[in-house]
Amino acid sequence: MTLDTALQLTIGGLVSGSLYGLVLIGILLIYRVSRVVNFAHGQIGMVAAMCAFFLVPHFGLPIAVALGLGLAVAALVSYLVDILVISRVTKIGSGFDLIATLGVMMFLTAIVELVASPKSFKFFSLGAQIEFTFLGVYFNANDLTVILTLAVVLGLLALVLNKTGLGLSIRAVAISPEIARTTGVNVQAVRALVWAAGGAIAGVAAILIASKVTLNAFYMTPFLVKAFVAGIVGGLDRFVRPMAIAVGLGLLESWVVYWLGADARIPAVFLLIIVVLGVLPSKYLQDLEQRP
């Protein structure tokens, strides 16, 4: 193997991993404030990409405006999902939260299938046509956008969570909504904001993914599954560790597929999960214990 092959695979893996990470951010945020594993997250993002895609030809909007509107729609849908469904699920952890988000996921899929037809569409290339070569490695502007977007979103989030009053409120709600309420935090508003922001970030992820693969009602599912895997292994109540695992997963897949072939990806990834979780010290596993 040559150096440029190694670099090419690493860059490719980083891009895939960043996409998993972008999907994961919203899942982690939403889990923080409502302790729900949101199966509908990927489809909320897909709605953003679909909206943007159809707004351009139908209303003659510039792509950037359409993308912005798509993100707004995703934020709204995510907010509505919480207000109309999730916040009404009485017992979180009873399994009903799982069914509720699964139901929403199926519902959004069905709606989009009905409205947009079950076809696949070529999404906006978002810089994929701007290509350049460096050290024998092929890039395009789209790859850089993905990695930069992840960095920017993570940076902004760290800033908001750690340096602002809003961030403090979010962290308080994450620890205990009841205590947060007694200290004067508007729990409802914080929750609404986090769901909306989570939806918008899902939209960002879905738009970038659509520009790499192809747009239809189902393209987000494999990315959602990988985001869950990274989140659960790393801990849904953390940030750094699951994000690192998401990016690592992308790199791992890239190398495994090159070395062992694409059909070795599933056994490699899932055997690794089993082994890792099997040998990790119990102390590490405790951090995800259920809260009363």
Partner: protein, 334 residues
Amino acid sequence: MFNMQSVARSDGRGGPENLRHMAWVTGGCLLVFALPFILETYWLYLVGVTAVYAIAGLGLVILFGFTGQLSLAHASFFGIGAYVSAIGGVHYGLPGIVTLPIAFAICLGAGAFVGIFALRISGLRFALITLSFGELFYWASVRWSDVTGGEQGLYAEPLSVMGIDFGDPINAYFLFAALGLLATALCFRLRDSSFGRAMAATRDSELAARSSGVSVARTRYIAFVIGALFSGVAGWLFSGHVGAISPNFFDMFASLNMLVAVIIGGVKTPLGAWVGAAYLVFVPELFGMAGVSNLYPILSGALLVLIVLVLPVGIVPALQQALRHLGTSRGDKQ
């Protein structure tokens, strides 16, 4: 995080309660015997599928409802049972009844192995472990096509034991009814046993369970193995009943479906497994009867959300509550 408060059950039955209970049981038995002579074969087939999914669902009730463990490999154990039956028949010409102990043994072994992880991992991470085994099972069932028939799967002959052909819908019905009732009775017995109390304690509070001398790890492990066995036996029944099996019966979505069914039905009661299985099988049928069969896939998600919002405890507990409510309001009038 899958900590649940127990749904109130009807406890402390008095004399008249007992009588009413017996009347229900007798009526139920009569119905079970009469059904196959009333229904067309099409409905008998569906009842058979319901019974199979209910038996698998009982395993989930024990695993998730009683013990609080989330498994996404349930359909894989179902698949092991189904493949053992079909592979035994296709490749080795074994009659169905011979493959039952083999299926049982392999599920026991597989459950005992995967269950090892339940000794110290719980919650979502345990769910991820089971999902991983499920994915490996699916991958193997597609790739190992010389044995499994690959994506197109295998055909399975209906069971035939001592000259009784269970390909006949009425015979099959009685077999499924008998096994279904047996599994349900087992599940009830298990719930009311001391092990049942250990499971409930493990689910409700690990700390409390430990302090009262319950081995949380051991309880989880045994519950997992029992759950796997229920699912495996159901899978073994399934392959002969539908006549053809392929990997997509046993993938992650199949496991999720099973979970959805028992949760909707009422995850803490064995009856919930039946209602959940009936939901999976007969709700699409209702759309078919209304002549809008193709609307079901479109509306199924919305329907799930609706059920969660309207019946936030599951169908069986909701019915029980309603019945009890009816009972007390009548009592007030007297």
